[in-house]
């Protein structure tokens, strides 16, 4: 009988305890760990096009999402799950995120069709470019390639082959041997700006620009909890973010496309205040921006560079400003081909670089708007 009392009591304490806790708990609007806005209590009715009200047909599903998103001690429960999965069930990854030597990465399974579609989309954009431009492309390997541990990795040789088949007319610059596991943040998918000199060298060499050793000043921001920190829900040591400045950056100006007015407005290279925001990596060139123009009248050459890019180029482009008098960064995830033609004027004899990370290349739906 005592056993039955204890079992019933424990069960009732937990379900009633958590009911009461959830009723009194005021959940945050954002999850910093997960980098997203949490679902709020859904409306039981919805407004139709004619202004009338009817029952919200999705209320049940939305309420369940809200109940999970607003659950008391949500991050703690996620951590419990991650620990159970890793330490009890001995599974190697959680939601596709794994940890090796204190660094988190994502399992990427090669989607050859998607890679081909991405390359075909880029090839279409190439047709907009003046004949005189020098066109290059590269794929930024995912950090997992260098981390070891026997986790599945995409076949990069096959990726290079697919890209080459679909991007005739563009010259490939390999970055495979320029990076190491330490060149990436432990808690984020991105590379570390202070470790990018081999990448800069390889790109410049490929584009026929002479490299010269830089003189950087290092600025430190910490702690940096990258995107994988929240997804892994496991205790990972925080990263330190470093951004590089120096004399070479003094004369560089940045202009950003304002999506409302379609005008280019002045801004900073490094947005340090964003370090406290939802995505600290936005420190570099303000994060997700459709079009950025960097000008450097004191560059080592008067060449122009156009980079069709994703977020990785945000930390790379300031380092290339030493060598190019003008760098235009175009994020095709926010641009259609028609918009590119309308908003970007390509100069003759410019260098054009298609530079995308592995995760974007592997998912053609991410790579650009049609």
């Amino acid at each position: 009988m005592k056993r039955q009392i204890a079992t019933a009591a424990v069960f009732l304490m937990i379900i009633f305890g958590l009911l009461i806790a959830n009723l009194v708990y005021i959940p945050p609007q954002f999850s910093i760990a997960e980098r997203r806005r949490l679902t709020t209590l859904p409306d039981i009715t919805k407004t139709n096009r004619d202004g009338s009200q009817s029952l919200n047909p999705n209320f049940a599903g939305e309420f369940e999402t809200y109940a999970l998103d607003s659950f008391v001690w949500r991050d703690g429960f996620r951590s419990i799950k991650a620990r159970l999965l890793r330490n009890v069930f001995l599974q190697k990854d959680s939601n596709g995120i794994y940890i090796q030597n204190g660094s988190a990465a994502k399992i990427i399974v090669l989607n050859a069709d998607s890679v081909a579609k991405t390359a075909q989309k880029l090839a279409k954009v190439m047709q907009l470019l003046p004949q005189s431009t020098n066109v290059y492309y590269s794929v930024i390997p995912d950090k997992g390639r260098y981390m070891g541990g026997g986790f599945p990795q995409p076949d990069y040789a096959q990726i290079e082959e697919i890209m080459a088949q679909n991007m005739a007319g563009a010259e490939y610059i390999s970055l495979m041997d320029t990076l190491t596991a330490e060149a990436y943040y432990a808690t984020d998918l991105h590379w570390r700006q202070e470790r990018l000199e081999p990448v800069v060298k390889a790109l410049l060499s490929g584009m026929g620009v002479e490299y010269s050793a830089p003189d950087y000043e290092t600025n430190t921001l910490k702690p940096f909890y990258g995107v994988y920190y929240g997804q892994a829900a496991l205790p990972l040591k925080a990263d330190t973010m470093e951004y590089l400045t120096g004399d070479w950056l003094a004369s560089v100006t940045a202009r950003y496309l304002d999506s409302g007015s379609l005008k280019m407005l002045d801004g900073d290279i490094y947005h340090v205040s964003r370090f406290q925001g939802m995505d600290p990596y936005d420190v570099f060139l303000g994060g997700a921006q459709p079009l950025i123009a960097l000008d450097n009248p004191d560059a080592l050459t008067d060449r122009q560079l156009y980079i069709f890019r994703d977020s990785f180029s945000s930390s790379l482009a300031p380092l290339l400003c030493r060598y190019y008098s003008g760098i235009t960064l175009i994020d095709l995830r926010y641009f259609s081909s028609a918009a590119v033609e309308m908003l970007v004027e390509f100069t003759e004899d410019a260098d054009v670089l298609f530079l995308l990370g592995m995760q974007v290349v592997n998912d053609s739906a991410l790579s650009m708007v049609q």
Binding site: R3, T7, F11, I14, F77, Q153
Partner: protein
């Protein structure tokens, strides 16, 4: 609303338990009925009317059956009940299947009805028919109270995914049932175990199946990983839900029959279907097979009866050719066991191995979106159309899912329950701590998985 969801666990269940146990005896059924209707309407507000129509019509027809039992009006009322029940199933579940096949065969262009399938219609229709048929047969008494009858049909523990509870099973408990601490705590234990099966095993193994379906690697190892994982996934998903239903029933004083009895220890297909989804197979036996003559007819007719039952069983699971083939597949195997093997048995290990292989193949049929996909997946088990024995992905997932797979394989045997039973019997002091700790750990672990995961509907939810 799902049992394995935050809405049910931490909002609905505490509320219904509170109201139910506060209510005096005379209001307990109305309270259960009200909450059951809310439970159903939560996800399907307009289709609660379909269920209510089924309840009202069968209850009213029950009066005619009872008054004129043995006479033509009773037969007519029974026929009407069957026609209404099966008619609703036909319209909501099978109409578009028949229309699209007719269009394909005759080149017609009949528009599809595109009706959403009311959740649980296959379950509550069979429950309603069990009442009217058993009433006609004189095996149960007329239920004069609409509230009690509606409570039986709509009872939320078993409403949307079974087990199929016969009216005869709960007739007495509807009117008079005991609420004991022993019953409640055994219900808690059963519910928690079912929740753990669903969230910690079924959902996890389901992830592996989903990875396979994405077609990332085409090797023999991955094909076998998928086959085993899917078999365990569907077992723990469905038996876990049944455990939760039975456990909830016990909390409210009801005793539902068992729906699973360790089917994966079976040494023949006949035995498998005595252990798997027992409520469904026994329903078809009692309401289709035996009325058709059962095994008291000529062998030829008996074979036809078996084929008919298994055609219907396949169709019950889904409006698709793969389900029909799945049902007929089992029908054929049962015919072989009955007429070709004639009770001859192999030694235990080969019998068990062959049975499990045949069952695994059946689940591939069950899961495939089309027959050609099913055939291709089955072929890969033997290396047909594969790119090799194993690859980096399959080896990785074998390592990564080894513990859940092993837990699943052990968990589908009587071993854990046997050990727990011995512990409870011999070490009562230890069991006093371990049993509530087990329930607490399961609840916390499952809550953690639910919060981290996403919406996770049961496989059998589409029936």
């Amino acid at each position: 609303m799902l049992f394995s969801g935050a809405t049910f666990l931490y909002y609905f269940l505490p509320l219904v338990l509170t109201v139910y146990f506060i209510c005096p005896r005379g209001l307990k059924n109305p309270a259960l009925l009200l909450f059951s209707l809310v439970f159903y309407a939560w996800g399907e507000p307009k289709y609660v009317l379909v269920m209510l129509f089924s309840i009202v019509s069968s209850w009213l027809l029950g009066f005619v059956i009872d008054k004129y039992r043995g006479a033509a009006p009773a037969r007519a009322a029974l026929a009407t009940s069957v026609a209404l029940g099966l008619g609703m199933l036909a319209v909501f579940k099978y109409a578009d299947f028949f229309i699209s096949n007719a269009n394909g065969i005759f080149g017609a262009d009949i528009p599809l009805l595109r009706l959403a399938l009311p959740v649980g219609i296959s379950f509550y229709t069979f429950q309603v028919l069990s009442y009217t048929v058993d009433l006609y047969r004189g095996q149960v008494r007329l239920q004069r109270s609409f509230v009690d009858y509606a409570t039986y049909v709509a009872l939320f523990p078993q409403l949307v995914a079974g087990p199929i509870v016969r009216y005869a099973t709960v007739a007495k408990e509807l009117e008079s049932r005991k609420h004991t601490l022993m019953g409640f705590s055994s219900g808690v234990l059963r519910f928690a175990t079912g929740l753990g099966k669903k969230v910690l095993l079924a959902n996890v193994l389901g992830e592996l199946c989903q990875i396979y379906r994405q077609g990332t690697e085409n090797t023999v190892l991955f094909a076998w990983l998928y086959a085993v994982a899917y078999g365990l996934h569907i077992y723990f998903d469905f038996s876990g839900y049944s455990d939760m239903a039975i456990g909830l029933g016990r909390m409210f004083g009801f005793s539902f029959d068992e729906n699973f009895n360790y089917p994966f220890i079976s040494k023949s297909i006949t035995e498998f279907w005595r252990r798997w989804h027992i409520s469904l197979s026994s329903w078809f036996r009692d309401y289709v097979y035996i009325p058709l003559g059962g095994n008291r007819v000529s062998p030829g007719r008996q074979a036809l009866n078996i084929a008919a039952v298994w055609l219907l069983t396949g169709l019950w699971h889904g409006a698709g050719w793969n389900f029909i083939v799945w049902g007929l597949y089992f029908g054929a195997l049962l015919l072989v066991e009955k007429f070709a093997l004639k009770g001859r048995k192999l030694p235990a290990l080969p019998a068990h191995t062959i049975t499990m292989l045949l069952v695994l193949i059946s689940w591939i049929l069950f899961d495939a979106p089309t027959l050609p996909v099913a055939i291709a997946r089955i072929g890969r088990l033997a290396g047909v159309g594969t790119d090799g024995l194993a690859g980096s992905l399959s080896l990785y997932y074998l390592r990564s899912y080894a513990v859940p797979l092993i837990c699943g394989i052990i968990g589908c045997t009587p071993l854990p329950a046997t050990l727990a039973g011995r512990l409870a019997g011999r070490k009562q002091g230890l069991a006093l701590v371990l049993e509530p700790a087990y329930v607490a750990l399961l609840l916390i672990a499952c809550t953690a998985y639910l919060i981290d995961g996403s919406f996770n509907p049961f496989i059998y939810f589409r029936f």
